[in-house]
């Protein structure tokens, strides 16, 4: 499972970086979205991969933490998703404004530059 997970993160990041370096604004925003997915998966993975483990420890007295999932990265990733989503939406607005003002979708506002 770890290998597939790592591979997924790697493919998403590589595609994201390639797209961010492209000259069209739409490609940049797609690249940033892919990067945010891969970063979210990465945060999630830092809390150890486990299937079917509860994130809440039931009995405080003598629980074995290795049987449970780590709840903190799940909380972190939720925050990161919300923030990343909001920022991408904002970027989309600026992208449209730039398209409207310059009349093209080049990141520098001028395809010849």
């Amino acid at each position: 499972m770890e290998a597939i997970y790592a591979l997924a993160i790697g493919v998403l990041t590589a595609s994201g970086v390639w797209l961010v370096l492209r000259p069209r604004t739409f490609q940049v925003i797609m690249g940033l979205s892919l990067l945010s997915y891969s970063v979210n998966l990465f945060i999630f993975g830092m809390g150890r991969l486990m299937i079917g483990g509860a994130p809440i420890i039931e009995t405080a007295a003598k629980a074995d933490p290795s049987l449970y999932d780590d709840p903190v990265p799940q909380a972190l990733v939720l925050t990161a998703i919300v923030i990343g989503f909001a920022m991408t939406a904002l970027f989309l607005v600026v992208l449209l404004a730039s398209r409207g003002l310059t009349g093209n979708d080049h990141v520098d506002g001028d395809p010849e530059a």
């Binding site: 961010v20 604004t25 940049v28 940033l32 990067l35 945010s36 970063v39 990465f42 945060i43 830092m46 809390g47 420890i57 405080a60 629980a63 933490p65 449970y68 780590d70 903190v72 990265p73 972190l76 925050t79 990161a80 923030i83 990343g84 909001a86 920022m87 991408t88 904002l90 970027f91 600026v94 992208l95 404004a97 730039s98 003002l101 310059t102 990141v107 520098d108 506002g109």
Partner: protein, 554 residues
């Protein structure tokens, strides 16, 4: 009384948050309530920051010993809950931010807030984010506050719209989004290795890591440090800065001059914590050699930018880069005396660049007919709530001798930025250069001293040449110069910032006493770590008894 004072550290976050949110309830057309709320909130923020700085100095040792206050946000003990930590460094940064916020707000009230909607709310949220970043003691919480300030800054950068701003904003948002992802990767790697996000706890556990974990940990710290360097405007991650700061609305650019200092603050804070506790070497971006080299290159390139800039506001943006470079190089040089001197330089340069940004726009008005110089003045684009009366018409009291004021202010700003006597810019550079000598052993000076001296003095020389040229071009060139009508509310903030610089140079002794205290506490981070991790003297809501599940990740 004492119980109330214990809750002070939360106020710099709560006041702007509440003010910004309440303002949204008033319709955009109702300016008066918004203006009153903004002024009251910013003033209250300044008072709280001053009170915090006063208590954090050794003036009242009974309240917060060693000048460190730990505020438990949820009432949970330190490594489990999120804490706010106030020490002398964060108190200093809070005061600087509050001063800059109040002056820029007053400047903006004259004209600029009318150029687009929701200026006031975004402004308050920016203040909240910057204050939160200075106060938090938790890495992920730092990320959240940085995002809050970035989100507000995206909005403010686009304030007034127009093509150059949208273009600069596009680059600024893209690079900062990518930077945030780098930040997250660093934070989550550190969490994966140490199992904690509390900065003090991370530092305490760093020394307990095994060799394998240590490698991962240092990788995480290095990635995090790169994100901080991006925020600080360090080479090679600063190409977004000149166009973003050079095109932003002037009052916005003035507040932005503290934003690069957020990155420097984070580098300083985490670097100090890691250096003291881990025993082993500090990871790369916090390492003296790396920071010094990056700082020197940033300084050289920033100075080259000052020489090439043709627009005043762009020139100031390059001054921000040069000051970031000086700071990084000085901090990278290391030594306790250097920390105090660098903090003095930071204070002086924030005041100077803040005043300079606002001044640039007023100077710009003398050349309404000029061809190349005016930053394209934007007409607000099709937003329903925007006033159409955004003109050069100045209402209110007009100050006399506008040209004399502009000239003198430009001179003062130039002296401050270039570091010539008699203002605080000179004292700051002098303190840094003298600190290089006090910290080194007797004998021939090491090569880093020579490099730092050459870099800083050369940068001053080139800056003064460029500023002379700019001054001649702006004031003495034969083009027709209109004497602009300056509103008192626009001139006063610049004057206040410059007078504060004068006060700083007159009161260098007391100021340095405080800054040296702050520098000393950065050099002995164990006090900070102990204060955070021992919940005993923590103010805030009474701690919830913690359930013994410590070390889930071990």
């Amino acid at each position: 009384m004492n119980g109330w004072v214990n809750h002070l550290p939360i106020f710099p976050i709560v006041i702007p948050l509440v003010a910004g949110a309440v303002m949204l309830l008033f319709a955009e057309a109702r300016r008066a309530p918004r203006t009153i709320i903004a002024l009251v909130a910013t003033l209250a923020n300044l008072l709280v920051a001053l009170a915090l700085a006063y208590i954090a100095s050794d003036a009242v040792p009974s309240i917060w010993p060693d000048g460190i206050a730990v505020y438990l946000l949820g009432g949970w003990e330190a490594p489990f809950g999120i804490v706010l930590v106030l020490d002398r460094l964060s108190a200093l940064m809070l005061v600087l931010n509050a001063v800059l916020a109040l002056t820029s707000l007053i400047y903006a009230l004259a004209r600029w807030r009318k150029a687009g909607p929701h200026f006031q709310s975004l402004f308050q949220f920016l203040i909240m984010g910057v204050n939160g970043a200075f106060l938090t003691g938790d890495l992920f919480n730092l990320f959240v506050f940085v995002e809050v300030l970035l989100a507000a800054s995206y909005g403010l950068l686009l304030h007034g719209l127009g093509e150059p701003r949208v273009k600069a904003g596009l680059h600024y948002i893209a690079i900062n989004l990518a930077g945030s992802f780098v930040f997250l990767i660093g934070v989550s790697l550190i969490y994966g290795v140490t199992g904690t996000l509390n900065m003090a706890d991370v530092a305490a556990r760093a020394s307990l890591l095994t060799q394998d974990e240590r490698i991962l940990f240092e990788t995480g710290i290095a990635i995090l440090g790169s994100a901080f360097l991006l925020k600080a405007g360090a080479w090679p991650l600063n190409f977004w800065l000149p166009s973003a700061y050079g095109t932003a609305a002037p009052p916005v650019a003035a507040v932005f001059s503290i934003m690069t200092k957020v990155g420097i603050y984070a580098l300083l804070r985490l670097g100090s914590l890691l250096s003291g506790a881990s025993g082993a070497s500090v990871p790369a971006p916090f390492n003296d050699g790396w920071l010094f080299g990056i700082g020197i290159i940033t300084l050289v390139l920033g100075t080259a930018g000052i020489l090439t800039a043709s627009q005043p506001q762009r020139l100031v943006a390059y001054c921000v880069i040069a000051s970031a470079g000086t700071l990084l190089a000085a901090l990278g040089f290391g030594g306790t005396a250097m920390k105090g001197a660098a903090l003095y330089y930071l204070t002086s340069s924030v005041l100077a660049t803040g005043a300079f940004f606002m001044l640039c726009e007023m100077i710009d008005r003398t050349r309404q007919t000029g061809e190349e110089l005016p930053l394209e003045m934007m007409e607000p684009v099709g937003q329903e709530s925007v006033d159409t009366d955004f003109t050069d018409e100045v209402v209110g009291i007009v100050i006399p001798a506008a040209m004399a004021f502009l000239g003198m202010s430009f001179l003062a700003c130039a002296l401050l930025v270039a570091g010539l006597p008699p203002l605080s810019g000179f004292i700051a550079k002098f303190l840094i250069l003298s600190a290089t000598l006090t910290d080194t052993a007797p004998g021939p000076a090491p090569v880093t001293v020579w490099v730092l001296w050459a870099g800083m003095l050369g940068s001053s020389l080139i800056a003064i040449i460029a500023l002379c040229r700019m001054g001649i071009h702006l004031f003495w060139s034969t083009d027709e110069i209109m004497t602009p009508r300056l509103h008192l509310g626009e001139a006063a903030p610049v004057a206040v910032l410059l007078l504060l610089s004068v006060a700083l140079s007159i009161e260098t002794g007391p100021a340095m006493d405080y800054l040296n205290l702050a520098g000393n506490s950065l050099s002995s981070p164990q006090i900070y770590i102990d204060a955070v991790l021992s919940g005993s003297r923590a103010p805030g809501p009474s701690p919830v008894p913690s359930i013994p599940v410590e070390g889930i990740r071990q």
